[in-house]
């Protein structure tokens, strides 16, 4: 459903993205990985329309620029990495901002807000002021908002995650990724996530794209992409593998 064809971004002659081509299918968890400065965030910004990159980016066969704004917002959402707020909305009001592109009755809206806040485990602090929440709690509130935003999509939507687990403790990292994975499996969400923890990539992603210096180095299943040689080459780190009883591979 998401198709990138030779996407490049060269501000002031500096190449940040170099002819990146990839495609993401509905129902897929897609990891973007690479060392610092590889162009992961830039690529995510190009997809979300924050920067104007050359080349073609299509969602459901239609160039992103050709989409109606509101329609696009119902089908493409971004979970921001860190988000501040100028004025102290309550957590619930932040979630309600996800209603912006939607047309819902008051009751429908209320029910959906509750549903998404339960799903992301932020019901406990619904009436707390957003700025008073911890980084992890804020991110879950933002996730609830984003899920609300996508709740009226007519096709399975695309969700972009920029390091979704960076501010979370271990339990919430797992919960968040499991939740997103479920959305991909049961509702056909396509999820593109920047992940730094390679074990999370191994555990949750169906496919991943390894970027370095703005170029695609490999696209395949995580087990194929994350070979010891590649990790050595791109991260300058000699990894070791441990195979757990469940058969899961862990990089150390």
């Amino acid at each position: 459903m998401l198709q990138l064809d030779r996407v490049s971004f060269t501000p002031q002659g500096k190449t940040l993205l170099d002819e990146v081509s990839l495609s993401v299918n509905a129902g897929e968890m897609y990891g973007l990985l690479g060392p610092n400065g590889a162009g992961k965030t830039t690529l995510l910004k190009a997809i979300s329309g924050d920067i104007k990159a050359s080349g073609s980016i299509q969602l459901y066969g239609k160039e992103l620029a050709a989409w109606d704004r509101r329609e696009l917002a119902k089908h493409l959402a971004v979970l921001p990495q860190a988000s501040q707020l100028a004025f102290p909305f309550s957590a619930r009001e932040v979630v309600a901002l996800g209603l912006t592109p939607l047309t819902l009755s008051r009751e429908q809206a209320k029910a959906l807000i509750d549903e998404k806040m339960h799903a992301t485990d932020c019901h406990g602090f619904a009436d707390h002021a957003y700025p008073s929440l911890s980084g992890g709690e804020r991110q879950r509130v933002q996730l609830a908002r984003v899920l609300l935003q996508l709740s009226q999509a007519s096709h399975p939507p695309l969700l972009l995650l920029d390091e979704p687990t960076s501010a979370q403790d271990l339990g919430h990292q797992h919960n968040l990724l499991t939740l997103v994975q479920q959305l991909a499996k049961s509702e056909g969400f396509a999820v593109v996530a920047i992940l730094h923890d390679l074990n999370q990539v191994l555990r949750y992603c169906d496919r991943c794209c390894l970027l370095d210096r703005g170029q695609v180095c490999a696209i395949d299943s995580p087990m194929e992409v994350l070979s010891d040689e590649r990790i050595k080459q791109h991260w300058q780190y000699q990894s070791q593998r441990v195979v757990l009883e469940s058969g899961q591979v862990v990089l150390v």
């Binding site: 979300s48 329309g49 924050d50 704004r69 509101r70 329609e71 696009l72 917002a73 119902k74 493409l76 959402a77 971004v78 921001p80 988000s83 501040q84 707020l85 100028a86 004025f87 102290p88 909305f89 309550s90 009001e93 932040v94 901002l97 996800g98 209603l99 912006t100 592109p101 935003q149």
Partner: protein
């Protein structure tokens, strides 16, 4: 939340009515209180209860009534513009006065007063105030805009620079002005509601109503903008268009307010703050409640301005600054920890 909003709205409407009635009956000339109130009833319903002399009727109907109406309209306009500007810049310290927009509008108006008083009839001053306000808003906004969003520091400093520049321009113009313009000019700079006239009132009223409608329609978009510009864009909002619309609308609002009442500072800063403390930053409630509180505040300030040095009176702009400046300092102290 809904209930507390309704309660606040009700309380503010009551306050508005009370301060309105007070403004009608209190003043330098002693007019019987009951008869003043009855006079309004008479005029509205065509009755004949009031026992006022003709000169007393003139005081109530042609001096006090237009003035209190102008206070309501201008107060509501300024407070809403303040709320919108703060939301737009995502900063609680932004205010049409502090970032230099009011000074810009004043320069526009004073250019009209001194250089070409009658170029477009009675529209000369409002038009020029509007152009001055718009240009300064765009200028300040342009200066404060950077890759990382809007810089508060640059915003405030640009405001200082532009206000000083406006001060110099006004000084320069006063040097060349004749006596009549000089008098009009000084009234303008301090802000005064004495120039309430039918034309003024209609202009202010229409502007207030149009701004209320236009702002309220964009309340959800303004809420989303508080998340940040990229986030608002991801929610399907045309951010650049929204910003431009809001800037033009506020420039119109401030331009009209300045042309009717001169520079009245701090209403746009203080009022949205107080409302946010009471009901939170949701623009759906913030905008109408700010309009109400702005009207109440300006009317009370004007009342104060009329009674403290009876039988003379203070310019109402002085009163709002006297009340607002300490408030601004308190805010600044609170914000300090965010900046360091």
């Amino acid at each position: 939340m809904q209930r507390s909003v309704s309660l606040w709205a009700f309380a503010l409407v009551c306050l508005l009515v009370i301060s309105g009635l007070l403004s009608l009956v209190v003043g330098a000339m002693n007019v019987p209180i009951l008869d003043s109130l009855l006079l309004v009833v008479d005029k509205t319903f065509g009755a004949n209860f009031s026992q006022l002399q003709e000169y007393q009727e003139v005081v109530v109907l042609e001096l006090r009534l237009p003035r209190l109406l102008l206070a309501i309209f201008v107060g509501a306009i300024l407070a809403q513009c303040g709320a919108v500007i703060q939301g737009l810049f995502r900063n609680p310290l932004a205010d049409p006065g502090i970032i230099g927009v009011s000074s810009g509008a004043a320069v526009g108006a004073i250019v009209a007063i001194v250089l070409f008083p009658a170029a477009w009839g009675s529209w000369t001053i409002p038009t020029n105030a509007f152009i001055g306000g718009l240009l300064t808003t765009l200028l300040v906004y342009g200066f404060a805009q950077s890759k990382n969003g809007t810089s508060v520091l640059v915003l405030l400093l640009a405001g200082v620079a532009i206000s000083s520049f406006a001060g110099a321009a006004i000084g320069f113009l006063s040097y060349f002005a004749d006596d009549a313009s000089l008098r009009e000019l000084s009234v303008w700079q301090m802000g005064s509601l004495t120039s309430a006239s039918t034309a003024n009132l209609w202009l202010a009223f229409t502007t207030m109503v149009l701004l209320m409608i236009a702002f309220q329609r964009r309340a959800q978009a303004l809420n989303a903008l508080l998340l940040g510009e990229p986030e608002a864009r991801h929610l399907g909002i045309n951010v650049e268009q929204l910003k431009l619309q809001m800037i033009i609308l506020t420039a119109i609002g401030v331009g009209v307010a300045v042309s009717c009442a001169g520079i009245i500072g701090f209403v746009g800063l203080v009022v949205p703050h107080l409302v946010r403390l009471a009901t939170g930053p949701n623009h759906h409630y913030l905008l109408p409640l700010s309009a109400l509180l702005g009207a109440v505040l300006l009317m009370c300030s004007d009342l104060l301005a009329r009674i403290v040095v009876q039988p003379a009176e203070l310019p109402v702009g002085l009163v709002t600054v006297l009340l607002g400046a300490p408030f601004f300092l308190i805010l600044l102290v609170q914000q300090r920890k965010n900046w360091s």
